[in-house]
């Protein structure tokens, strides 16, 4: 069994401040601006601060702690060399508005990264501006609107999604002001062509799809889907959260997708940072190029890189400057290091890992897996049988996994599977670790149900009361 470090670590404001302060008022400012009270931030010694955060870090589980098979999040190992290079001050110390002659290195990286992403996805052009996947989706919706408005088809105000879509998809659709239509999946867990056909109309702006989908199933009818969507005059959008399954194997551009977003913090190994920063570049086919955000990155015949703002039909900007450059840089390093064979093998082994785990878990007969058998980089099992037999829910299994020293899978998603555990074991995990994870899942199913329902026991805190956190929100020191 696993034991995490446990500290009853006080909050920063509960630590003893060695330095006493007097009231500081800055008298030079006009009276209407003058601050008349001190800000309450403790004045601590550096050792106190380091120990505080060091201890906190020891009560946190990351990929470097162990396997982290969070479905749809592609928690792969983050190569240290990427972190090292991205911290060089030749990169970190550059201002976004410096004269471009002094940032040619940055521009070269962005220029080349755009081209590499085009090759990986089969798209014609890329924008590196979006700060995350959902931000890319939002940009995708802006591009969709610009495209239809350009064709004077302003009545296209609906976006269709399958019921297996990521939560960000519907949220991005409505943030951009589109009406959302969710269609049910068929008995294979894939897009129901008949329903899709019935739903598509002259009102449809776009169909958003993840392929392989969130069940880990490749939409084999993708060419038919693409034809249906395009025949209806709509665009086809690719949520690239799952592209770790198909690099070097198939490309969304060849499947007929018009717009693609990628999550560099998933497939391209940049760290998730406890929630970010991420990066969600968007690629498009040539017919959408003129709408991409500014600036575009260009190169003169002489090999000088530049920012090109001359794009009158561009949607403009969706954030400041050029994107999360530090993340772009890490992804660039990862891709040139892996190369074509490395990326292809990454996808192959990710899919192998997933199918291997799936088979071993299902062979145990403790869990079920609805829908089609063949899976790509992730698969979703159901704890419904455990719930019926022993009252053990997916959340209980997840929490018990923590006691075994493993990060749980994604839970209760996608919504069409009851008591879902969505498992994605990326290529950076070894067979030995996969076997240990499989064993733990099987053991948990066989354990005394009270044991499982009482989990976790070995973490810094026991099962956390999340309902209370929302009912009686305490969100700052002051609110305690």
């Amino acid at each position: 069994m696993y034991r995490s470090a446990v500290y009853d670590e006080p909050l920063l404001n509960e630590l003893e401040s060695p330095k006493k302060e007097k009231i500081n008022i800055f008298t030079e400012l006009p009276d209407s601006l003058k601050k008349k009270r001190n800000i309450k931030i403790p004045n601590l010694d550096e050792t106190q601060i380091i120990r505080h955060f060091h201890r906190l870090s020891q009560m946190n589980y990351g990929i470097d702690s162990g396997i982290y098979p969070l479905g749809s999040c592609t928690m792969k190992y983050n190569p240290k060399i990427c972190e090292e290079i991205a911290s060089w001050d030749k990169f970190t110390g550059t201002h976004p508005c410096q004269d471009i002659s002094t940032v040619q290195g940055n521009l070269q990286i962005m220029f080349e990264l755009e081209r590499m992403l085009c090759e990986i996805t089969g798209m014609d052009y890329f924008s590196l501006q979006p700060a995350a996947g959902a931000h890319g989706e939002f940009l995708g919706m802006l591009l969709t609107r610009a495209y239809h408005e350009d064709k004077n088809e302003v009545n296209r105000d609906e976006v269709i999604l399958p019921d297996t879509s990521h939560g960000t998809n519907p949220a991005s659709v409505t943030t951009a002001g589109y009406k959302l239509i969710e269609i049910p999946s068929n008995k294979d867990g894939t897009v129901d062509l008949r329903i899709l056909k019935e739903t598509l109309s002259e009102k449809t702006a776009c169909f958003m799809l993840t392929n392989p989908n969130t069940l880990g199933i490749f939409e084999s009818d993708i060419l038919k889907i693409s034809k249906l969507v395009h025949d209806a005059g709509a665009l086809l959008y690719y949520d690239g959260a799952n592209i770790n399954a198909i690099m070097g194997k198939a490309r969304p551009g060849d499947m007929g997708f018009d717009i693609v977003h990628l999550n560099l913090h998933k497939t391209f190994a940049t760290p998730h940072g406890g929630g970010g920063p991420g990066s969600g570049p968007v690629g498009v086919k040539i017919k959408l190029e003129k709408f991409l955000p500014t600036p575009r990155i260009g190169r003169t015949k002489e090999g000088v890189y530049l920012f090109d703002y001359d794009a009158p039909e561009s949607v403009g900007k969706i954030r400041g400057h050029y994107g999360n450059f530090s993340v772009l840089l890490k992804a660039y390093i990862y891709i040139i290091m892996m190369g074509r064979d490395g990326l292809k093998e990454a996808s192959e082994i990710a899919v192998l890992n997933s199918n291997y785990m799936k088979k071993k878990i299902l062979d145990s007969k403790q869990y079920e897996m609805p829908y089609k058998d063949i899976r790509k980089h992730e698969f979703v099992i159901s704890c419904e049988k455990l719930k019926k037999d022993k009252g053990i829910r997916a959340m209980d299994v997840a929490k018990r996994l923590l006691d075994y020293g493993f990060h749980p899978p994604t839970t209760y998603f996608p919504l069409i599977i009851k008591e879902a555990l969505m498992i994605e074991p990326p290529e950076t995990e070894s067979k030995k670790d996969l076997d240990r994870y499989i064993d733990a899942l099987i053991k948990i199913a066989q354990e005394d149900s009270e044991n499982v329902k009482g989990a976790p026991n070995n973490t810094p805190v026991k099962r956390v009361d999340e309902v209370n956190a929302s009912k009686n929100p305490i969100l700052t020191w002051k609110m305690i």
């Binding site: 999040c73 972190e83 409505t174 198939a250 406890g274 970010g276 290091m337 990060h407 956390v464 929100p473």
Partner: protein, 449 residues
């Protein structure tokens, strides 16, 4: 192969699956779309990769290589070593969103502390644990004002960065928000109060004011502005530079409803403009309309203090199409840097930092305006950025400075045609008196040519 341990046991694992070839796992991809040529380069070793990147970086100049007084809301600040020491703890940076709170207590507590400090410096009740950047924070604030009031007009100053306007107009399209601009006073550089009075009406969801504004000028009528906004029944959104809050009143002290800002300056490097840190804080009464992740304090099964994500029913992973925002991945690690940085400063250090930035700003203004041909464009009180009017061609000036290995200011007339040959300069605690002297001497030299 690199980072792929099961390469070596591939056939063994395939055998377990009753398969011979890895291709068998991809039979469900139609032949027609299978890749024939994958035109990427061959991979590189780690050593080769590092060598390649060293060659590329030689084409860059960081603020350590070139003397720079660029403004525009982003400047280099000193980052104490303790920040990287903590943010490079891989328990933190290799984790993701703390969905499993029992295994994420460390990050959750740090984010709770971040929220507490942001609430403290902005004078707001609550803060979320980050949005993408200050610019998208403004857009989210405008959407939130519309959600709360049901009104569809948002007012902002003419003198905010063009990027902010552009991003806001994109986010405004969804709910169909109309954006109205108020001009600035030609003399002071502050917003035009009369125009605000005229333009604000019953349909105004919110009014956005920056303090200090894009020209570096403090809006010292801010209390009055707040009253005008409140009297019209609108929400008051204030944009801040966190560095200024050590010496100035916090927006909470002049009754702001929502506070946004770019938080990069709190312990994060410039990184060519990204990553960034969107600060977002508000009054408690608007909490349930807030976008983004919020961390709360609660108890575990044994009654022990514990942290977890709170109010998740606002978020896309639960509420989907009805979420308050589509944001999922945010800027967590930058928020971690910010809380470590603020802890390191403490309230005394924060006050001193703020004061130093103000004083440097005054010193820079004095040195520049002492030279013939350079004048302050506005007479309002400025913080650490300032608009300077040059009597000759501003672009040419920047070129001449560049030849002396100096990065000049941001040329403003592209975005504000009325500000011909005006430059936006910025300064921070990293600039020494010698830097200012060298800069002023170069300006003098160049302008005399």
């Amino acid at each position: 192969m690199k980072f792929v341990p099961n390469s070596s046991v591939k056939s063994l694992m395939l055998k377990d699956l009753g398969l011979n070839d890895i291709e068998d796992l991809f039979f469900d991809i139609p032949q027609k779309i299978k890749i024939k040529n994958f035109n990427l380069s061959k991979g590189l070793s780690q050593q080769e990769t590092e060598q390649k990147l060293r060659k590329i970086l030689c084409k860059n100049k960081s603020y350590n290589d070139i003397l720079s007084f660029l403004g525009g809301g982003i400047k280099p600040h000193y980052i104490p070593a303790i920040v990287k020491s903590i943010t490079s703890r891989s328990e933190f940076y290799t984790a993701y969103t703390p969905y499993q709170s029992e295994a994420s207590q460390g990050f959750l507590q740090a984010m709770f502390e971040y929220q507490s400090m942001i609430a403290e410096i902005t004078g707001m009740d609550v803060a979320n644990c980050s949005l993408y950047d200050g610019i998208t924070s403004l857009s989210e604030a405008a959407l939130m004002c519309t959600r709360i009031t049901g009104k569809k007009t948002f007012i902002m100053p003419h003198n905010i960065s063009w990027e902010k306007k552009c991003v806001l107009s994109n986010y405004a399209k969804g709910p169909g928000i109309r954006i109205n601009e108020i001009s600035y006073d030609d003399k002071t550089g502050k917003i035009n109060l009369d125009e605000l009075n005229k333009k604000i009406d019953d349909n105004t969801a919110g009014v956005y004011i920056e303090n200090p504004n894009f020209f570096g000028i403090f809006e010292d009528d801010i209390t009055e502005i707040g009253k005008i906004v409140k009297d019209a029944g609108s929400l008051f959104v204030v944009g801040i530079d966190p560095i200024s809050l050590g010496i100035t009143k916090s927006p909470g002290e002049y009754d702001a409803d929502i506070v946004i800002g770019e938080g990069r300056a709190l312990g994060n490097p410039m990184n060519f403009g990204g990553s960034s840190l969107g600060i977002f804080a508000c009054k408690n009464e608007f909490l349930r309309q807030m976008p983004g992740r919020i961390i709360g304090l609660t108890k575990d099964r044994d009654g022990k203090r514990a942290f977890c994500m709170a109010l998740q029913t606002r978020e896309q992973h639960i509420r989907r199409a009805k979420a308050t925002s589509n944001i999922c991945t945010n800027e967590g690690l930058c928020a971690l840097a910010a809380v470590v940085y603020l802890s390191w400063l403490g309230s005394i250090g924060f006050f001193n930092l703020s004061k130093t930035n103000y004083e440097k700003g005054q010193k820079l203004a004095k040195s520049i305006t002492a030279i013939d041909g350079f004048n302050l464009r506005f007479n309002g009180t400025h913080f650490n950025e300032l608009v300077v009017k040059y009597s000759d061609d501003a672009k040419k000036l920047n070129k001449q400075l560049l030849q002396r290995n100096i990065q000049g200011g941001l040329v403003l007339d592209e975005f504000y045609p009325e500000l011909k040959n005006c430059l936006l300069f910025g300064i921070s605690e990293i600039h020494s008196d010698e830097d200012i002297e060298r800069f002023a001497a170069s300006l003098k030299e160049v302008s005399n040519v």
